[in-house]
Subunit: 171 residues, 2 copies
DNA sequence: GACATGCCATGCAAATTTGAATACAAATTT
DNA sequence: AAATTTGTATTCAAATTTGCATGGCATGTC
C-alpha cells in the first residue's frame, strides 16, 4: 500500500520510492526494510498493478501504476480505514513479563522509560510543524500528532502503574 | 521472547506453547502465526537456549529452557523495557493517504471508525477483570488497559480531526 | 590522472513467516 | 458401532523480509 501510494503521482524507480518514504518518516511508523521495495515492485508488476516504463538493461527500472493498481490501492486504503485492529506493540510483550523482574529493577526500568518518553514527547512536539515546505504533505503532521498521543498514553499508563508497583499492588 | 517466557515455568511442547499464548490473548497484541512456534522452538534448541527433554519419534516434542535461555530471555526483556520505539500501526499508513480520499468518503470513514472504536473500547473496559482465575496472571489486565488507552488516544485524535476536515482545514 | 569518498541504485542468499495440509486421537452424533 | 465432528500436534512449501554485497557515477584533491 505504501509503495502504491508513493507511485500515485507519477512513475518512479526503487530508490526514489525509498527516498520518498524516508522523507515522510515512514521508517518510524511502518515496517519497511528498504531491500523489500524492489521485491514489492517486481511482484506488483507481475500482478499487473504496475508496469515498467523505462530501462531494464542494468540501470534503473522505472515503474508506473496502472488502473488496476489505483483500484487496488483504494481498496486497501478503505479497508485500512474501516478495520479497527489492536495495535501490535513490542512493549506489550515486555509488560506481559513484568512479574519476572525483581521489584527494584522493574521500578528502575519503569522510571527510566517514563523519563525517556517525556524527552521523546517534547522533542516530537517541537518537531510538529517543522517539516512544512520540504515536499512532505502538510497532514503528515497529523501522523506525528497521533504518534505523540499514543506515546502519551503509554506514559500515562506508566505513571499510573509506578505507584502501584511501589505499594506492591503490582505485579 | 514470548516463547522463552512461556517456557520459564516448565517444559512444554509446541501446541501447549500456543495454547498458553492464546490464553494470554497474545494474538491481539503480538504478531505470531502459530505455525512459526515450531520453527522458533527448533531454532532455539539449536542455539542452546532450549533442550529437548522428551519424544522426537513422531509424537510430541517437549522443550525445556536452559540457563542460557533464561539469560537470553532476561537480556531481551530488559532491552524491551528500556528501548522506546515508535509504535508501528497500519492505521498510520491509512492516515498518510487521507488526502487521496474525497471529502465525503473520508468523513464517512472517520465517523465510522470513531463509532467502532467507541464500541470496541466499551467492550474492552467490560472485559477488564474478566480473565481472573483462569490461569492467566493478574497483570495481564494491565496489558488490556494499555491497549485501551492507546485506542482511546486514536479516538481522541479522530474526534479532533473530524471537525477540521469538516471545515476544510484538513487534509 | 590516480585515488578516495560518498551517494545512487539494485540484487541476492539466507532467514523468517505464513497458511494450509496432514495425521491421528477423542468425543459426539446417527 | 459406524460415521462425523472436534481437538491435538506438527510439518512443509511457498511467500516474504532482511541486511548486506555489489557496482556505477560524480566530485574533490593532492
Amino acid at each position: 500500500m505504501l509503495i502504491l501510494g508513493v507511485l500515485l503521482d507519477g512513475p518512479l524507480h526503487g530508490y526514489e520510492v525509498r527516498r520518498r518514504l524516508e522523507l515522510w518518516g515512514a521508517d518510524s511508523w511502518a515496517n519497511v526494510a528498504y531491500g523489500s521495495i524492489y521485491h514489492g515492485l517486481a511482484k506488483m508488476a507481475d500482478e499487473g498493478l504496475l508496469v515498467v516504463v523505462e530501462g531494464g538493461k542494468g540501470g534503473k527500472t522505472v515503474y508506473e501504476i496502472t488502473e488496476d493498481g489505483r483500484f487496488e490501492f483504494h481498496r486497501q486504503l478503505m479497508q485500512a480505514w474501516y478495520e479497527v485492529r489492536p495495535i501490535v506493540d513490542p512493549f506489550q510483550v515486555a509488560m506481559t513479563f513484568m512479574d519476572r523482574i525483581n521489584r527494584p529493577d522493574l521500578l528502575n526500568a519503569m522510571r527510566g522509560r517514563a523519563e525517556q518518553l517525556q524527552v521523546t514527547l517534547s522533542m516530537m512536539e517541537r518537531a510538529i510543524g517543522g517539516k512544512q515546505g520540504f515536499g512532505a504533505p502538510r497532514h503528515i503532521d497529523e501522523n506525528l500528532k497521533l504518534t505523540t498521543t499514543q506515546l502519551a498514553a503509554q506514559l500515562a499508563w506508566l505513571q499510573d502503574a509506578i505507584p502501584k508497583v511501589e505499594r506492591e499492588d503490582l505485579p
